[in-house]
Symmetry: C2
Subunit: 310 residues, 2 copies
Amino acid sequence: MNEIKIFCPATIANLNCGFDVMGLCLEGIGDEMIIRKVAEKGIRITKITGADLPLETEKNVAGVAALAICKDAINRVAMEHGFEIEIHKKIKAGSGIGSSSASAAGAVFGINELLGKPYTKHELVDFAMKGEALASGCEHADNVAPCVLGGFTLVRGYNPLDVIKIKSPTDLYAVVLHPHIEVKTSDARAVLKPTIPLKDAITQCGNLGGLIAGLYTNDYELIGRSLQDVIIEPMRKQLIPNFDAVKNSALANGALGAGISGAGPSIFALCKGQTIAEKVAISMSNSYQNTGIPFDMHISKVNDEGVKIL
Amino acid sequence: MNEIKIFCPATIANLNCGFDVMGLCLEGIGDEMIIRKVAEKGIRITKITGADLPLETEKNVAGVAALAICKDAINRVAMEHGFEIEIHKKIKAGSGIGSSSASAAGAVFGINELLGKPYTKHELVDFAMKGEALASGCEHADNVAPCVLGGFTLVRGYNPLDVIKIKSPTDLYAVVLHPHIEVKTSDARAVLKPTIPLKDAITQCGNLGGLIAGLYTNDYELIGRSLQDVIIEPMRKQLIPNFDAVKNSALANGALGAGISGAGPSIFALCKGQTIAEKVAISMSNSYQNTGIPFDMHISKVNDEGVKIL
């Protein structure tokens, strides 16, 4: 096997109560990548479609992630060859559903496959994080972890990286509304306060615990009660026009919960079952029409597999 | 059935990463109470042994909790009688292992039994919390919830009260060292800061998520990695002489984790299996000898049943 085509799914990080620690993987939207084993050593990005991204390996998140795994892999396998990478972006950059993470995860997953799988999926998260760091300025795993592992993931901690896949019910759907506006990462960070009230941290912890308990026990109502964010959403929602109206329409139409996907501007809702998800998508869409801002809608089952060979 | 004898277990609140939300129930130590149905209406505390506590119903946590359930119960059952309560304290007041919660939980549990169980255990937590409020000044459930429900519990939130019992492995033991010093609740609160760094809240959330995931999946190592407290312990440990030495001896001898029980001064360790728990107890005990402060040691399996009829 010298060439594989890969599906690199979009992801939703934070999930309201899990700021910087929780994420989930989507099925209905993702990039495609082709990874090719070639005689010439090193990593080359040979083609990018769907986005205006740098081809230089060191300036591309997929390239940096690929370099990270290859640098380590020489200790595990004979590597008398290099890799070419094609990236076909479907996830828009800056949408808040893990565009850069998909590229980073796809690169390391694909190279690992072509090397004969010397690494576990959990180990791949670490390499993908190196690529993600190029995009965000710091190593964080809340999108790459669900992209690589699938399903719901928890980043317990970083020293060393400790990522847990959380078992979840099979009938969960996510709805994503992506308004075509730019929320600069610097703005999304600037609105956050470096300190928070202790009582808010306790509320957030209670809800995160509830979310994880709800996922393990297939308790959809508990999942819904737990999908609250008293820390980040009140600050960041001002950056997203019509956020409250969209969220309220999702909840009024049966969503378990709704909030900001990642750092925004995408707004997500979690739903039990496809029928409710479709109803919620229509209501969110209707409530955004009058803003005059163009937007995309995605409906997706939670993807338990993660990045995969097509 | 007009009289029952009840075992009212001690509990450990907070468990490091779960400040104000997590708790667990102990088996080896608890109070005993006798609840008696009598012709005369109202609640009377007729006897207290083992502690110098008020007999006046309105000034006693068991009395206040009993009044709370009886006030509500007239809407559910015919109540042409009253109750007498005897309290035999084994859990020392101010030890940090849920002494007042045991009394409050015992009273509501016993009365519910004698009324023919009109309430679920989850409903009893709410009444017990009314009694607990007398002792601590505010209604909180992190000790009464595990005392009533047994095992590990999470208080997801308070509006309304939402308590989740968390499934846990069967071979978990707690070791408790109770130094005979008084840590005033006002002092334990005064050392806490009303605001905390956002990054510490994220670390704490990651660990709480890890603890709950570890409990559901019987992953003792994950439980151990998660039993960390970056928010409260650094502040409160200064109130407990020799805390670091005791904690380090527990960890060095195989404890999964160790920390402050409730608001202290008790120090707890969680261990996998009785053999390790006994070794850890000896090491903690040895490391406390040289303080000259008298102390008690308890070794207890986690009690999955909670308050019960003897």
